[in-house]
């Protein structure tokens, strides 16, 4: 059976972990400013963070908040940990930045460090690099959070080599952004502490709607 052991949700310049808001910044901050504040709040030092595009920063932070205080990384075999993410806009935000840099003939300096982020699955790569997670990974493009798809796909992975997974949604499109990431384990141990004893469309939808945002 599979359970959900922890989750984090970021939107409206707020970070919620397991349904409780743990960090919020002034709502007038831009996405980049907010991400920088949330990074400071996390209290870690990971210089690569500053090189990431907004989507990777958002996904990275959401995963860090979900992982914080759990034993997920230490007690699991990370070669059997999958990462399954999804969104609607693919990498649109960074695509725009790259497009701007090649559009102006008089100021033509496309940046390799920007271009590498014009793929949505680089967010998965950043999580994999940070924690040396080498299991299966997939990135789906869906119109909205498709709990059914994510649950079905993760369950399918659990039927072979995968034992644990980091699953969710990471979307950035101009001013709109949202990340929602949960940790799930396929375990025989029914006493294992978890937020939800089951992984299914209902449990995912429930935790997705759990947080009461303050504005």
């Amino acid at each position: 059976m599979s359970n959900i052991t922890s989750y984090a949700h970021i939107k409206h310049n707020q970070v919620s972990v397991n349904g409780e808001i743990v960090f919020h910044s002034n709502s007038s901050l831009t996405l980049i400013e907010f991400l920088s504040e949330a990074y400071k709040n996390l209290g870690i030092s990971y210089p690569k963070f500053h090189k990431m595009d907004a989507q990777c920063k958002l996904g990275f932070l959401c995963a860090e908040f979900a992982l914080k205080g759990t034993n997920f990384l230490t007690e699991n075999n990370l070669s059997k940990t999958a990462i399954v993410l999804s969104n609607c806009a693919s990498s649109l935000e960074t695509d725009r930045v790259h497009q701007h840099s090649i559009d102006d003939k008089s100021n033509y300096f496309p940046s390799p460090a920007v271009f590498v982020y014009t793929l949505p699955n680089i967010t998965i790569g950043e999580l994999a690099i940070k924690h040396k997670i080498t299991g299966e990974n997939a990135f789906f493009v869906s119109e909205q959070l498709d709990a059914d798809l994510l649950v079905n796909y993760t369950e399918t992975l659990f039927q072979r080599n995968t034992k644990t997974a980091i699953v969710g949604w990471v979307e950035v499109d101009v001013a709109n952004f949202e990340a929602f990431i949960f940790l799930t384990e396929n375990t025989e141990n029914i006493n294992k502490s978890s937020i939800f004893k089951s992984l299914n469309q209902t449990s995912v939808t429930t935790i997705y709607n759990q947080t009461i945002w303050t504005h």
């Binding site: 497009q99 014009t118 790569g125 299991g135 299966e136 493009v141």
Partner: protein, 397 residues
């Protein structure tokens, strides 16, 4: 015991042909499709070569028989290749069985969006173009074009995308969620892609030379390729014919760098090893490897290391077919899946063009001429940015 999954239909359009039979002809005559840029408008027109599809957008619209202005090059070629695969398989999407479409793309509608970019974001004109920009758009177009499709999804994991679409299709059939799936990938060329890969300095100005000591980089290509995969139950029900069986697949993350592969090919080794384990085959039972082999210094070295890690001193015959088609990104794995099935069907290994000198200390020499030899099993590798490594194993049906 879950049911077996067979490939029953092939469709592809790329620089080496507008359909499977034209592609087979080019492959068997060692004729590359990479040449001067004719259709794409770019500052690099005279600087780089590319594997362009030899048809204009107007030609493609004629072939698709749809002049809907919302369609773009990506959708046209996806629709054509998917339709060819469906016709080739003989399936009827109206027969009551459950059909899925799982496609992959990285640049999506960018080729069209960039033409109107200034108008879009400065004058808010041509906003209808944005409707076709999304990665999901070409998948929806395919589904509409084929008709009566029960399930549609889009995967975007860079250059291994189509391999992951094939894997997902197989799994959904094995788990009884679908009876058959049209799987594959598509990426049309765009300025966006050219300018981006150029910043990474991994484009060769001449023909790419996969696995050559003096390789300088890749040639970009554009393509769409789709395969119909069917569960054995559905296939038996309609008394259809299998072209090949998908016996192994695996995906792993290299966890090394956003774009570069690890020097020792860690993720690739994991993917190949897992795919072999799933197939129940031992390394010596693989008859041929269709390599990812992009021609970049980094990929080919890393893939060579992984190949040696898995196969030791008994590396099977191998080649990269990217010197025919160019690197077609999200379509690459499905293009190479179609080529692998053609190899199985025709007992032919298609050559690794432009190779002369083996990579120092690797001692790995690809097939440089067409080889006629019976083939029973083929391993096909596809690795993408973001550390995404996939391997597929096909078996003669």
């Amino acid at each position: 015991m879950s049911q077996r999954v067979y490939i029953t239909g092939l469709g592809m359009i790329s620089a080496i042909g507008n359909n499977v039979s034209e592609s087979f002809l080019s492959l068997s005559q060692s004729k590359t499709g990479i040449g001067k840029i004719n259709h794409l408008t770019t500052r690099y027109k005279d600087e780089f070569l590319a594997g362009e599809i030899k048809l204009s957008n107007a030609d493609l619209a004629d072939l698709v028989k749809d002049n809907n202005p919302a369609l773009n090059r990506n959708s046209y070629i996806a629709m054509l290749a998917a339709k060819e695969a469906v016709i080739n398989s003989g399936i009827d999407t109206n027969d009551g069985l459950r059909t899925g479409v799982i496609s992959s793309t990285t640049v999506a509608g960018m080729g069209k969006t960039e033409l109107y970019y200034k108008e879009l974001f400065e004058k808010y004109d041509h906003l209808d173009v944005l409707d076709t920009h999304d990665c999901g758009d070409s998948t929806e177009r395919i589904a509409d074009y084929l008709g009566n499709v029960d399930y549609v999804t889009t995967i975007s994991t860079a250059c291994s995308s189509a391999a992951n679409a094939i894997m997902l299709g197989c799994r959904m059939i094995k788990h009884g969620q679908l009876d058959r799936v049209v799987v594959g990938g598509v990426d049309a060329l765009s300025k966006f892609t050219f300018n981006g890969f150029n910043t990474l300095m991994i484009l060769d100005r001449e023909w790419c030379k996969p696995f050559d000591e003096n390789r300088k980089g890749l040639n970009l290509g554009e393509a769409a390729a789709f395969l119909v995969i069917e569960g054995e139950n559905a296939l038996n029900l309609r008394k259809g014919k299998a072209l090949a069986e998908v016996v192994g697949y695996a995906n792993a993350n290299d966890a090394y760098h956003q774009t570069a592969s690890s020097p020792e090919g860690y993720g690739a080794t994991l993917a190949i090893t897992e795919a072999l384990a799933m197939s129940g085959l031992v390394p010596s039972q693989i008859d041929y490897i269709n390599m990812h082999g992009t021609g970049t210094p980094n990929n080919d070295l890393s893939e060579s290391m992984a190949t040696k890690a898995v196969f030791g001193n008994q590396v099977p015959k191998f080649s990269s077919t990217k010197a025919f088609t160019g690197h077609t990104l999200a379509a690459a794995a499905s293009i190479e899946a179609v080529i692998s099935v053609l190899s199985l069907q025709n007992s032919m290994i298609f050559p690794n063009l432009n190779f002369t000198t083996p990579i120092a200390d690797m001692n790995l020499i690809p097939e440089t001429q067409l080889v006629n030899t019976p083939l029973n099993t083929i391993l096909s590798n596809s690795f993408g940015f973001g550390g995404n490594c996939s391997s597929l194993i096909f078996k003669k049906a």
